[in-house]
């Protein structure tokens, strides 16, 4: 009886661990073919809206490791979350970010992947659905979406 109770307690604690686990869902790359990363960008002067996609044909993990190694080489700090500080184009204000960005582009060139971007004049649609730069996320409540454009 004690043994059954022991198994039951292990089962409960296992279930609780998984339910409360803060780890995000991570996709199993090994079983997939092409991996596409989609991002968007626009200028506040109101000229263009860009949708960009990075298509990784093969060896996704090699490219990912190379990129993370570049950031370590350039001494990107490890954040309290355990992840390396992000490399964002908007924040390229120092030489080390510039070097990391150029190395990332070189790695992109060397690997089996490609980049495509669609450039849309902002006059074609209303960007106010995305809110203003000074608004908090909660105050920008889009009524419509532009999802169809991204297809």
């Amino acid at each position: 009886m004690g043994l059954y109770l022991h198994h039951f307690l292990i089962l409960i604690s296992f279930h609780k661990f998984h339910r409360d686990s803060p780890l995000p869902y991570v996709y199993n790359y090994a079983t997939s073919t092409m991996i596409i990363y989609l991002d968007e960008s626009y200028d506040w002067q109101g000229t263009y809206f860009l949708l960009g996609a990075l298509f990784v044909v093969e060896d996704h993990d090699v490219l990912l490791d190379t990129f993370n190694s570049i950031k370590r080489e350039e001494k990107f700090e490890v954040l309290p979350s355990g992840h390396l500080r992000e490399l964002k184009y908007a924040q390229i204000k120092y030489p080390k970010y510039e070097r990391a960005a150029i190395k990332a582009i070189q790695a992109f060139k060397a690997h089996d992947c490609y980049f495509r971007a669609v450039i849309v004049p902002q006059a074609q649609f209303d960007l106010s659905h995305f809110g203003r730069s000074y608004e908090s996320e909660r105050s920008s409540a889009p009524e419509h979406t532009r999802s169809s454009l991204r297809c």
């Binding site: 860009l50 150029i102 060139k109 979406t145």
Partner: protein, 156 residues
């Protein structure tokens, strides 16, 4: 347009989109991007013999680019930002020096003849022809400007 035209013969692909925080509705309704993409790319299609054809994308997810697992979104962000900086014709002062260097570096590394609209609009027909002819991935990899392409969209 962006996905369909540029992924010839791709089946069972995976799409990771940046978590678009500014598109989230205050009442949690949010952007319908994932739903629209699933409807567009994950629908099961049958061939003439009623055999199911694998969908173009089997997994679509919004992810956080700050996570090391999805760090390649940062590469996409750098390429996109460098592109936007390159196509804008506004004044770029000293504060933009490092960004300008990355844009120039991108052009040099990828051997791009230009980032100007006139040049890339002349390339659109090539892409349309490829799509219409159901080009194979092998041929697509050998095509002009395989590594990097811009599409200046204009309404019909």
């Amino acid at each position: 347009m962006l996905i369909d035209y540029n992924s010839p013969c791709v089946r069972n692909g995976v799409l990771f989109a940046d978590y678009l925080s500014r598109c989230k509705g205050a009442l949690g309704r949010g952007d319908e991007f994932i739903e629209v993409m699933k409807e567009r790319f994950q629908r099961v299609i049958y061939d003439h013999d009623l055999h199911p054809i694998a969908p173009k994308l089997r997994h679509i997810q919004e992810v956080d680019s700050a996570h090391d697992t999805y760090a390649l979104l940062q590469v996409c962000d750098v390429l996109l930002g460098a592109t936007l900086n390159g196509i804008l014709k506004c004044h770029k002062g000293k504060r933009m020096a490092h960004k300008n260097a990355v844009t120039a570096g991108m052009q040099k590394v990828l051997e791009l003849p230009s980032l100007m609209k006139a040049y890339w609009q002349s390339q659109v027909r090539i892409a349309q022809r490829e799509y219409a002819s159901n080009i194979s991935m092998e041929d697509y990899r050998r095509a002009t400007h395989f590594k990097y392409r811009l599409w200046f969209w204009r309404p019909k």
